[in-house]
Amino acid sequence: MIHHHPEDATLISHAAGALPAAMALVVGCHLESCTRCRRVVAQAETIGGALIDSLEPQALKPQARRSILERLDQPEPTGVSPQPADLSDLPNPQLPKKLRQLLGTQALEQQRWRSAGPGVRLLKLDCGEGSAMLMDIAPNYRVPVHSHRGTELTLILDGAYDDALGHFAPGDVADLDHQIEHQPAAGPQGCLCLAGLDAPVRYKALLPRLLQPLFGL
């Protein structure tokens, strides 16, 4: 049972195609397991459709009508778009589909994790826009208090963490903006999560803040 969802504004932006890739990835993975949010996105897409209907039309070139009629008779081109990797060949079956496609053929443990302090290791994901990473927090470890310069979306994949906002278990999403300061503490099983950021994190205490460039957070 999922208790924490992305904000509606975040889901609206996902429907609009306006989320930076790193954040869209987190929402996309959450949607795979959340009927409630798929419904909100579908509602927002209805708004998109209604807006299309009320847009000021911008005429196509005069020859467009004839050209489209000619194209109706042509066979559908095949094999144009690259096929996503066949999921059954990929490792990490416990993870969301979109994440598995991104991770490719290497198992989670064989990926290039790097340490980010005593209780946290990070796996940077190549997403091209914003920054996305897997974060693996050791059992019972407390992440230093921090806020965010932009927005951070975090999807819990395994284990759990607790902070002032509540208990976050697999499927839950923390949708945090710069006004929120938090100190997540991993549960006894530790916590594996997927984070998408549209701007670097801002730590409160002096030391971790100085360390930020090293961690790439």
């Binding site: 306006a18 209907d53 039309p57 979109k98």
Partner: protein, 186 residues
């Protein structure tokens, strides 16, 4: 409803798609083309596509409709919603390729919408009327989000509003348009 908007005079688009699916009816298809291609063109231009690319993608979206018409289910989505999803995914595929990792397919026409997640497709007219009555500040945000493809942070910077206000206004717009969402979160 007593007040009749212009949109009430529109053809029954779902019936047009049905005729395309069942009879390969070109007249119905061209009706859809004449109405939607210039609007999708407009949408794609505002997303930043060049004049040439926008026209190409608008035609591509309508070709998708021609090919996939049989998959369209009027109970699950308005024709405009269906075309919006197709055009949005074409836009992502061509203009915001890195976002493709988050969407299931470039061919939105193929994406199934599950029974329990489909919003009521019968009230699009009401929805269009409600959009027209949104406060200007909400309408501007919805517009920037949907048509200029801007993120919350970009909209906040551009309009000089705090990020929190941008989000709460977008949320208010959705609630106003769609009525009560079933789950109140946070």
């Amino acid at each position: 409803m007593a007040d009749t908007a212009d949109t009430d005079n529109q053809p029954d688009w779902a019936a047009c798609v049905a005729r395309v699916a069942e009879q390969r009816c070109r007249d119905s298809f061209m009706q859809l083309f004449d109405h939607y291609a210039p609007r999708l063109n407009s949408y794609l231009r505002q997303q930043g596509a060049s004049a040439e690319l926008a026209e190409e993608l608008a035609q591509e979206a309508l070709l998708s409709l021609w090919r996939k018409a049989a998959l369209y289910n009027p109970e699950k989505a308005q024709v405009s919603t269906w075309l919006f999803r197709i055009a949005r995914n074409l836009m992502i595929d061509q203009l915001r390729r890195e976002r493709g990792i988050a969407y299931d397919s470039a061919e939105a026409a193929d994406e199934p919408v599950m029974e329990d997640e489909a919003p009521d497709a019968t009230d699009a007219e009401t929805l269009r009327r409600k959009i027209a009555t949104l406060p200007q500040e909400q309408l501007t945000l919805v517009y920037k989000n949907f048509f200029e493809g801007k993120s919350h942070a970009e909209i906040a910077t551009e309009t000089g509003q705090p990020l929190g206000s941008v989000k709460s206004r977008l949320r208010a717009a959705l609630q106003r348009l769609r009525g009560q969402l079933e789950a109140e979160v946070h």
